[in-house]
């Protein structure tokens, strides 16, 4: 009897022990540490200024960048910064090989440190865009004037449509944001401004027509909550730029890739997805209107 009991108990112990380690653990050695550089620098870095928020941008441009990488036969990194200023700094310091920038930022960069135009997208057959003043769909505000003493969202201080254009409009009314609005904020991207209006965080906002139209066409979650109460005159479309000290061959190589993108089936599909017809070469003069209002605004 005792023998049997002993056998049973012993078996139970064995059973317990064998059951207790029921999850397979992967053996990992933590002592082999490395202090090597965390970043592998890519061969080509292309910055995208925060016209829309970084995650949206990332998703938006991912396929295009992959395609560029393949075409250039070089690794391409998408570089983003929070503000146009920071992006312009990357270009100024020649830390990127190319950049998608806002028209306002281009004018600033070109005039300040010789930022060069590479190509510009043709969207809906046009190389221009507008600034929309939007309010909430349910709002009874139907003009900029009626936004007086209301809250307002600018995008970036260097933004043309999100900042410069509404400033110009205010200036023409002899108003400044401080005098006109009850309060105003910088969202640093157009999608966030649309979201802020849709969410009634602010009463109105100035946004890039390209962004609003694209969003309205692809994902009208927020745009449907807003309505356009003012459309600015057209301005030169946000271009693709290169630093002043760019390698000429690389510049030419990149330009050719962009210009011929729409000629290939694959490239055409990628462009279609992001709402771009094709890329063309553009003259600096296309942005003179912006220089005009900038000059006007800064003169106040």
């Amino acid at each position: 009897m005792v023998k049997k009991l002993a056998i049973v108990i012993f078996s139970c112990f064995i059973f317990f022990n064998s059951c207790l380690t029921f999850e397979e653990a992967k053996k990992v050695n933590l002592s082999d540490r490395s202090n090597e550089s965390l970043y592998k620098e890519e061969e080509i870095r292309i910055a995208v200024s925060s016209i829309i928020s970084p995650d949206e941008t990332f998703i938006y441009y991912q396929e295009l960048f992959k395609y560029l990488s393949k075409k250039l036969n070089k690794s391409v990194k998408l570089v983003q910064r929070r503000s146009y200023y920071e992006t312009n700094e990357l270009i100024r310091l020649n830390r990127v090989e190319a950049a998608f920038v806002c028209s306002g930022a281009y004018v600033e960069g070109h005039d300040e440190f010789g930022m060069q135009l590479l190509v510009a997208p043709v969207i809906n057959g046009k190389t221009t865009y507008n600034s929309y003043i939007i309010v909430h769909r349910d709002s009874d505000i139907d003009s900029l004037e009626k936004l007086r003493a209301k809250s307002f969202a600018f995008t970036d201080p260097l933004s043309n449509t999100g900042h410069l254009v509404p400033l110009y409009m205010l200036a023409k009314m002899n108003e400044t944001p401080d005098s006109f609005f009850q309060r105003y904020i910088y969202t640093y991207s157009h999608d966030k401004s649309i979201e802020a209006v849709a969410g009634k965080i602010v009463d109105g906002a100035a946004v890039d027509s390209l962004i609003w139209d694209h969003s309205n066409a692809t994902d009208p979650r927020y745009t449907s909550q807003t309505k356009i109460i003012n459309i600015s005159p057209p301005f030169g479309i946000p271009p693709v730029v290169v630093p002043r000290e760019i390698n000429r061959d690389l510049k030419e190589q990149m330009k050719q890739v962009f210009l011929h993108l729409h000629e290939e089936e694959n490239g055409k599909q990628i462009l279609n997805k992001i709402g771009i017809d094709r890329f063309i070469e553009i003259e600096d003069s296309a942005y003179d209107s912006i220089r005009e209002i900038k000059k006007w605004v800064s003169s106040i």
Partner: protein, 594 residues
Amino acid sequence: MNIRWKFIISITSIILLSGFTTAFFVQITMTKTLTQELMERGFVIARNLANSIVDPLLTDDLITLKRHLMEAKNAEGDIAYAFVVDDKGFLAMHTFEAGFPKALLNANIPPPGQGGSAQLLDTEQGFIRDIAMPILGGKAGVLHLGISENRIRSEIARVTNIFIAGTIAIAIAGGILGSIVGSLITKPIAELVKGAEEIGKGNLDFEIAIASEDEIKVLARSFNEMAKSLKKSMQEIMEKTKEAIEAKSYIASITESSADAIISVDFEGKIKSWNKGAEQIFGYTKEEIMERKLDIIIPLDCQKNIVEKIEEAMQKNYVRNYETRCIRSDGNIIPVDLTLTTLRDSSDRIIGTSMIFRDLSEKKKMEKQLIQSEKLVSIGLLAAGVAHEINNPLTNILLDAEVLRQRKLNEAQVKQKLDEIISEVEIAARIVKNLLNFSRQSKLEFEEVDLRDIMERALSMVSRDLENIEVTRNYQEIPRIWVDSNQIQQVLVNILLNAIQAMPNGGKINIDISMSQGSEFAKIDISDTGVGIPEEYLDRIFDPFFTTKKGGTGLGLAICFGIVKEHGGKIEVNSQVGVGSTFTVYLPAGVRNG
């Protein structure tokens, strides 16, 4: 092993078993629950962190990225590390102070999709669960969060240890309890054992005292009752034994005091008991004869018959009054009456035979004397007849002698007279011879005879008394038989005389000689038309000295009975008062060579 230890071991084992089983399941459940909880928490943290680091990651805001990771790591004590791998698979940021462990980079690669994955890692710092959370669905990279399971594991171990310690404590308590319970049970059992031992030693007065009110008590009560009834039985057995011993010695004293030889033999014929009577009759002492074969006291020619009688006794349980002969130690042969009884044991199995021998020497001697005296009486009775019988030839001789003396006869006539004289002398001589033969005391002399001749001789001896009696003979042809003719003749004479005396005024005597049914016996029927014998006397008429006649000796029929019996035959009588009597004598048929 005693019951107490069995109790202790059983209870301890059950407690240990259930305790360890519970500990095992608690451990499993705790591990599962806590791991699950930790993992869920980890996933929530990772998901939030992955969302909040999208901007810093995409905008190369490494400071903010690091800050987010460090904040997450420091907020939760369980988080061992956090690191971010970018969309190209390069390490973007980590929280390790002394460099990044290379092995971690590819330790947990999440499958494509939004879900993220968890992988348990066994590191020098203990078990760490690496949660890989894709950033922007994996397009922007992957966040890895290392959640240390040391805390929950130590917690589980602590709980398990408490459980095991508790189990062992309870097992010890159970063991003590088992010991107490075992004692409670074994103490009365020990009492029982002691009682059993006492009873085993023969101390039937021992009474087991059990205090508790349980089955043991019932058992003890039964035990005590058993002891009591055992004692009672023992006493009864003692009494019975005493009685048996007394009865045995009583029987033995009767046996010893008997003048008859009472002996017993076993199956093989060995003598097993021998009384004083046997010593006197056979001349052997008990010491001499015990365990010897019975053959020593049986003559050769009787041995076969004795064996047959023993076998017969075995079938019929007994054989009474078988007359045979035995040899004494001095070589003399003595007649005995033997009664055999089968001996059986308690299960009714035959174990031998008891034999009672009665010495018939004196009886035989007396019978012979009686026969002789009866003969003399008969001679007395016959004398007149004999005288008359002899007188006739004598008268004839006298007459013939007178004629011869006158010498007037011629030679032929003389010769005729002389022949007549010789004839008459022969007749007289024969009569005398017969008388002499009858009167002579002799031993049994068997011979082959014709029963009808003996009958005729008997009739001739009583012929004088048959004057008024009509004798009818009805003899059948029967084979010769082996008898002592003189003795049988006396038997027949006695019966005839009895018949004659029963018919003082004459009558009829009818004599039949035939074979009995089955031809075992030669049969003689002698019927008279006399006064008959009253029924109440019929049983006693063969007893010695029983008589209803004036001047009778009461020996006649008794002698007849003795003689016939000695021949192995029998006598029967049928009688009706006023009608007559019939005596039937049976004698064994056939001629023997003994």
